[in-house]
């Protein structure tokens, strides 16, 4: 018979002998932390001394001063009379604008090329391989300068290229037909977004019910009114107009339509093509990682090809694809900072100008770092959440 004892196990005591591992560990930690703290204090005191010697005031008070720097290509209203703070906000939106659209386009292009790489057609797979190899092995900055030079070499607005009606490509950038977005239209888009979210919740609920009783249920009777009718109703109520404005040449420039400035367009092309080469390799290895037996089993069950891809292959491939894809998204966002080289005014470029105008080096660089750390952490949180959702649940 064993007797259960309430006595706790003997507590480990810290032995203060030079030979013990705990003691050595403690000494190491104290040493390293002390060095780190000493270095930081030394740098700090140097900085304070230097700043006072150069009569540079520290702090973020300069943010409320008038910026006086022109920012050409913005979505938000901005004039040089606005404050530095607002200039920074505009810079951040410019960064997000190129990063978000770049991520979407790079994912689409990268997936297409990754699949082409696996094609049974020899020519197609070789061409995809050449695309990947060439773009991966040339620095992004060089590619960016190259695209920008090509952009500047395009004909002037009067003799712009017209690949499709209503689309103009000239040294003023790319001009597309557009639908003007005002407050009414934003409400309609918001309603559509809300409808999408609610439909998603409904779908989850229906799947949970199916798990209980095994009866398949359709989601579209709920989704259709939510996604289509609700926005339509809002649009009718607010009287929002959805006319397309076509760009036309007036004098030396275009009027109407949506203009992508040459700097923005060059940056977007460079980021998308460069990142898509990396995404293509990730997609390829992800699909190849799905064991052949899974395909065979799906074929043996007589599943339709689309069903097989959607429910058997893709979920397994995604598990391999998502983590490296996340780091590519982060890379694209960080690489968008190269914009400073061609004069697209993103956050780095705005901070750089601020730094030159005010001499507030520490604050400007701290702001760049804070912005990028926030973006990086948000993307990785989102991706970790998504990753946990699709991760293998073993019974």
């Amino acid at each position: 018979m064993t007797i259960a004892t309430d006595r706790p196990p003997p507590r480990k005591r810290l032995r203060l002998s030079l030979g013990s591992r705990e003691f050595a560990g403690l000494i190491w930690q104290i040493l390293v932390v002390a060095i780190a703290v000493a270095v930081i204090i030394w740098l700090w005191s140097n900085t304070v001394h230097n700043l006072s010697a150069r009569r540079i005031s520290t702090g973020f008070a300069f943010l409320s001063r008038e910026a006086g720097m022109p920012i050409a290509d913005t979505w938000l209203a901005y004039s040089p009379k606005d404050t530095y703070l607002w200039a920074f906000v505009v810079g951040v939106t410019n960064t997000l604008r190129v990063a978000a659209i770049g991520i979407v386009l790079a994912t689409i292009l990268g997936t297409m090329i990754g699949i082409a790489r696996l094609s049974a057609n020899w020519l197609l797979s070789r061409l995809a391989a050449v695309y990947v190899e060439v773009l991966r092995d040339i620095p992004l900055l060089l590619q960016l300068l190259f695209w920008y030079v090509l952009m500047q070499g395009l004909p002037p607005a009067r003799t712009a290229w017209k690949p499709v009606d209503g689309v103009f490509l000239s040294n003023r950038g790319l001009v597309l037909p557009s639908i003007p977005i005002g407050t009414a239209q934003l409400w309609v888009l918001g309603a559509a977004g809300l409808g999408l979210l609610v439909s998603y919740a409904v779908r989850r609920h229906l799947i949970a019910r199916q798990m209980q009783d095994g009866k398949p249920r359709h989601v579209w009777p709920y989704a259709l009114p939510l996604i289509v009718l609700l926005p339509a109703l809002v649009s009718w109520h607010l009287g929002a107009s959805w006319t397309i404005t076509w760009p036309e040449l007036r004098g030396f420039n275009f009027a109407g339509g949506l203009t992508l400035a040459p700097e923005y367009f060059a940056l977007l092309i460079a980021l998308v093509t460069y990142t898509s080469a990396f995404i293509a390799e990730i997609v390829r290895s992800g699909i190849q990682a799905v064991p052949r037996g899974q395909w065979d089993a799906a074929i043996a069950l007589g599943l339709r090809r689309s069903f097989m891809l959607r429910h058997i292959v893709l979920p397994q491939a995604l598990r391999v694809i998502v983590p490296p894809l996340t780091s590519q998204y982060l890379n694209l966002t960080k690489n968008s900072s190269l914009a400073v080289a061609i004069g697209y005014q993103d956050i780095v470029s705005v901070a750089n100008t601020t730094l030159n105008q005010t001499g507030q080096a520490i604050e400007a660089i701290a702001l760049i770092m804070a912005v990028f750390l926030t973006i990086s952490l948000s993307i990785s949180f989102f991706m970790n959440w998504y990753n946990a959702r699709i991760a293998l649940v073993e019974r």
Binding site: V33, T47, L123, D137, S337
Partner: protein, 374 residues
């Protein structure tokens, strides 16, 4: 069963061709299997072929037939005549010395050229499996000292050349190689620190890695060029190139640490336990048992990281250091040749591509050796 599933169903006509022994038959068979296996496939092939021929023909027209290869002296009128139709390769012989070596004294430019050769030899030897031993470290030290002597001079009758005059390809190679040579040991220490059981050291390493990896390299370079003078005691300042080099080392250290950490995780627990059982100290255990295995695991991703660094050194353009890309960009400021930047960028792109492609081939070969494919 599984083996037969891999064999594609061959139509009868294909089987008939198989019986033929001739080269033509074999070629036809290959074409049929790889390019014309179905209607959709044949259509894809034809469309791609048409596009490819059109593209290549246009490129050849621009780059070869209508191109200007040579002009007399610093005169671009022949190039201007064919602008928009043909390439102006004449800009390359005119400017290549400046693009490759920057403002290094002209009659001394054999020294950076020799340094580049030493770099390439060093890289080549490092890829040989035969050299993967301790002597490689000594080889690197000797080569880096030799490169320093060649570039700086001041000894052995070589005139001294200060860093401000360095430029072009040697600067790119120096930034990448020294970044690697110092970033690698740093990465090892940080990776070990991140897996340490000591909480203070672990959190310091995590902080360092996440901070550096969360921000773009440009912000670090800005920091090095603008904030470094503020950090140092009054009057003390380092050369701009050295400051950028420090930023690149710190950057490389964080990324390499993550790669090495992956390798450390792949070393089985039993190896740690066996080393502990032998009574090895922490440092001896890591040096003799753990790290050699860990690094061997991650050589292919390490090479990929090196490729990324090599390309990333081009970012020093933004803080005005004369690396290969900056000299190229400066070369075409010359109003005579201003319009021909595409040609210059293509020339520089070829150099970058040659280095990166060689490294990526090497990494691919290592990977295929590590996982034999059946």
């Amino acid at each position: 069963m599984a083996a037969t599933a891999d064999v594609p169903q061959e139509p009868r006509s294909l089987r008939r061709m198989q019986s033929g022994r001739g080269l033509v038959n074999r070629a036809l068979r290959w074409l049929r299997a790889n390019l014309f296996s179905s209607v959709a496939n044949s259509l894809t092939t034809l469309v791609l072929l048409a596009l490819l021929i059109k593209g290549l023909a246009g490129l050849a027209q621009w780059g070869i037939w209508d191109a200007v290869w040579d002009t007399s002296g610093n005169d671009s009128s022949a190039c201007r005549a064919v602008r928009g139709v043909g390439a102006c390769w004449a800009v390359i012989p005119e400017k290549y010395r400046f693009i490759l070596f920057g403002t290094y004294p002209f009659e001394q430019q054999w020294r950076p050229a020799l340094a580049v050769v030493v770099f390439i030899a060093l890289f080549y030897l490092s890829t040989r499996r035969f050299f993967w031993r301790r002597e490689l470290v000594y080889l690197w030290m000797a080569a880096l000292i030799l490169i320093g002597v060649l570039m700086w001079g001041g000894v052995l009758g070589l005139p001294f050349v200060s860093q401000e005059r360095w430029g072009g390809l040697p600067v790119t190679l120096i930034l990448a190689t020294f970044g690697l040579a110092f970033g690698f040991p740093l990465g090892i220490f940080v990776a070990l620190g991140r897996r340490s059981r000591l909480p203070a050291i672990r959190s310091l390493c995590v902080l360092y890695v996440e901070l550096i990896r969360g921000v773009p390299l440009i912000s670090l370079l800005f920091m090095a060029s603008v904030m470094f003078p503020l950090f140092m005691p009054g009057g003390f300042n380092l050369d701009k190139l050295l400051r950028a080099q420090i930023a690149i080392v710190l950057f490389a250290g964080a990324y390499l640490a993550e790669v090495i950490r992956g390798g450390l995780q792949a070393v089985p627990r039993g190896q740690h336990e066996a080393a502990d059982a032998l009574g090895l100290s922490y440092w001896r255990k890591n040096r003799l048992i753990i790290l050699p295995q860990a690094i061997r695991h991650v050589i292919p991703p390490l090479v990929n990281t090196f490729i990324a660094f090599f390309k990333d050194t081009s970012l020093v353009l933004i803080i005005g250091i004369f690396d290969l890309l900056t000299t190229a960009k400066t070369a075409i400021i010359d109003p005579v040749w201003q319009q021909f930047s595409v040609e210059v960028y293509l020339f520089v792109a070829t150099i970058y591509f040659a280095f990166c492609f060689a490294m990526s081939r090497f990494s691919r070969r290592l990977e295929s050796q590590a996982t034999p494919r059946n």
